[in-house]
């Protein structure tokens, strides 16, 4: 069943929804990257909660005009309008008053959401308009989605993706350094407006699939996950798109297999699983890589200390040091140094003496900064410098 869903064998409608969710996830991941890099990830939380009154008002307006209250394009237009008003309120509260941005976000999201729920209870008491299913905008639902709904979502996602690709350069500059971007002649307010506009578009398009409480996850989580794998902005954007797309695809497919698997939460949990994988497994920035790096560093410190002890004829008691040196063939099981061990110990001691001289000589100030008790001096100095250093070392060694 799951395999059928993943290979798009569950019928035409489910296939359409799965592809639409994948496109939406890709667009959300790519757009969210710019919000995340610009440290404005939580603005999307305010945007998404601010869509609720718009959905409700659009429903009321469409019913009042005698239409079907649940027509998706109308509901999306209403949600876009109220989300835009919410965004304006956030920026007005941030710029015109002493409130910080996070307080403005919190105020807007709670008040708009509260007002939306007031409107929802008004709608519940209306007798006409077939309001059932309006609650699915809270948590998303693809069950009973019509073909044209899926087409609206897929094409919306595709358009946003294209716009992100077109605007990626100015958005990158503004996300990293507004002042620098402005000095290069970028129209910063307009680019920020475009960035927010794209986030708003993603939120509105994603309402039906993921729901307004969880859409913020699709904007944040893939971007944060992608950041672990690479330091290059272009690659972060692409990877975030891939992670978002995978989450949308797999999440929608899983949720199509059983009625008790709500679409939005499943998509979010898939993306969180990918995030967890990235947190642990990513090279360089991942937790596993950091642990391995630390282990290697510790082994080098222990080995170096062991060699220095050997060279100075001191006994070694520390368990880890003994194990490491035995494994490398530097000492025998009874703790006596092998030939290789003696050679390396002598080298380590000479290196340590050289470092001592080097660090006491102000002429080598720059090289001395890289002293960590581990780096072989040959890596730091040129052969000529080494020779000069050894000449300094010799008289002391003789006396």
């Amino acid at each position: 069943m799951v395999w059928d869903a993943l290979t798009l064998q569950l019928g035409y409608n489910a296939t359409l929804v799965t592809l639409g969710a994948a496109l939406l996830g890709m667009a959300a991941g790519a757009t969210g990257t710019f919000l995340f890099l610009g440290k404005r990830a939580l603005v999307s939380d305010a945007i998404s909660h601010a869509t609720l009154p718009g959905v409700a008002l659009a429903f009321v307006a469409m019913v009042a005009l005698g239409g079907d209250g649940r027509a998706l394009p109308g509901l999306l237009a209403g949600s876009a309008l109220s989300a835009a008003v919410g965004l304006l309120c956030v920026s007005a509260l941030t710029n015109r008053t002493r409130l910080s941005e996070d307080a403005a976000i919190g105020a807007v999201l709670s008040v708009f959401f509260g007002f939306g729920i007031v409107l929802l209870t008004v709608i519940q008491s209306m007798s006409s308009g077939r309001q059932a299913g309006l609650e699915s905008f809270l948590l998303g639902s693809t069950a009973g989605m019509l073909r044209q709904d899926a087409v609206v979502i897929a094409s919306g996602g595709a358009i946003v993706l294209l716009l992100v690709a077109a605007l990626r350069r100015p958005m990158t500059m503004v996300a990293f350094d507004r002042v620098f971007a402005a000095s290069l002649g970028v129209n910063v307010p307009r680019v920020e407006l475009a960035m927010m506009g794209l986030a708003l578009a993603i939120t509105v398009v994603g309402l039906k699939v993921v729901g307004l409480i969880l859409i913020v996850a699709l904007l944040i989580i893939p971007a944060v996950a992608a950041r672990f794998w690479t330091d290059r902005v272009g690659r972060v954007v692409i990877l975030a798109g891939v992670i978002g797309g995978l989450s949308g695809y797999a999440g929608a497919a899983f949720s199509a297999t059983a009625p008790a698997l709500p679409t939005g939460p499943i998509i979010v949990l898939v993306s969180f699983a990918l995030f967890t994988l990235s947190l642990f497994a990513a090279p360089n920035r991942g937790v596993l890589a950091a642990v391995l790096k630390h282990q290697r560093f510790r082994a080098r410190v222990h080995e170096r200390q062991g060699l220095l002890a050997l060279a100075q004829g001191q006994p070694i008691y520390e368990g880890l040091t003994l194990r490491l040196m035995q494994r490398r063939g530097l000492i025998r099981a009874d703790g006596v140094a092998t030939e290789l061990g003696q050679a390396q110990a002598a080298q380590a001691l000479r290196d340590e003496r050289r470092w001592q001289v080097l660090r006491s000589n102000p002429a080598y100030e720059e090289a001395a900064a890289s002293y960590d008790g581990l780096t072989p001096l040959d890596d730091v100095l040129t052969p000529d410098q080494l020779g000069a250093l050894d000449r300094e070392l010799r008289p002391k060694g003789v006396s």
Partner: protein, 310 residues
């Protein structure tokens, strides 16, 4: 409107609303000044999985296991946010966004998977609360306030919320000076030998207690709104911390009372039959107050100079 019917139907929910609003607004002042205003948002999302797990473990809908579950979930969330921030070098806002959305999604999935349809445990209840249904059936009128037997019939949420409010006020009172110092000048507070990070953690814990207690009775929207809106509005009115806390308590009370009345009686005045969501209306009123304060408050601008001074 102030007769017997009021005592039965509206007195208890209104008091619960007021207590919840004030209990959230007081710690909200400090969270706002410390730029941690969105912690209320995060807490109110992550308590859902805690409550669901508590229900699945105990099999009953009762207050204490759920409060414990919610508290545990908040602690897990704080730990996860901190771990992701440290391990991954991720900025706090994004780390918070990752954790609270994922935990909320997990909670919703657990709800859908388990058979909770027989009890009033569902997502909408978690969001809206059920303020309107907390009525005092045993009341016979105002005289019942002096009748022990009738008082026993009060909804248990009322005493829980009152207890929480007393706890919040007492803790704020006792720790006022260290709280104030560490909020305004962390460096100075540290040189005075105050355990700054412990005070910060304590504040978050108190906020979580208030949020969890309020969540059960009034839903999560009020919690988020009351953490932020009354303190933010108060901040526009005054520059002093004492005055700000006092104003925020006033705004919280006004929001709760006016919101409840508008939700319950407003539609009737307009000629409709049904009441609207009280929780939503309280949040809306608090937003209106914030809007007014932002427009006309004497201290709404960043410089702190009086804008209306002539």
């Amino acid at each position: 409107m102030m007769g017997e019917e009021f005592v039965v139907l509206s007195l208890a929910p209104m008091l619960i609303g007021i207590f919840a609003a004030v209990a959230c607004a007081i710690p909200g002042n400090f969270l706002l000044l410390r730029r941690q205003a969105l912690i209320g948002d995060a807490i109110s999302h992550v308590v859902l999985p805690g409550i669901v797990v508590a229900f699945l473990v105990t099999g009953v809908v009762s207050a204490w296991p759920m409060m414990l579950g919610a508290g545990g979930a908040s602690l897990v969330a704080v730990g996860l946010i901190e771990a992701i921030r440290r391990l991954g070098g991720i900025e706090p806002g994004a780390a918070m966004g990752v954790v609270f959305t994922a935990m909320f999604a997990g909670g919703v999935l657990l709800l859908e998977q388990s058979d909770t349809s027989s009890v009033h445990l569902d997502v909408e209840h978690a969001l809206y609360g059920n303020l309107e249904s907390l009525i005092w059936l045993d009341a016979q009128g105002w005289a019942s306030l002096w009748d022990i037997g009738a008082l026993r019939g009060l909804p248990p949420e009322l005493s829980r919320m009152a207890l929480t409010l007393v706890l919040v006020i007492a803790l704020t009172w006792v720790f006022w000076r260290p709280l104030k110092l560490s909020t305004f000048d962390e460096g100075f507070a540290r040189t005075m030998g105050l355990p700054v990070s412990l005070i910060g953690l304590g504040l978050v814990v108190v906020a979580a207690i208030a949020a969890v207690a309020a969540f059960d009775a009034v839903g999560s929207i009020i919690v988020i709104a009351m953490f932020i809106c009354p303190p933010a509005a108060a901040r526009m009115v005054t520059n002093g911390l004492e005055a700000q806390v006092a104003w925020s308590v006033g705004f919280a009370v006004v929001s709760a009372v006016l919101g409840y009345v508008l939700a319950g009686y407003g539609p009737l005045w307009l000629g409709f039959d049904d009441a609207v969501s009280a929780a939503g209306m309280i949040a809306t009123v608090s937003g209106a107050i914030l809007g007014l304060a932002a427009a006309f408050g004497p201290c709404s601008h960043r410089s702190g100079a009086s804008a209306s001074a002539s």
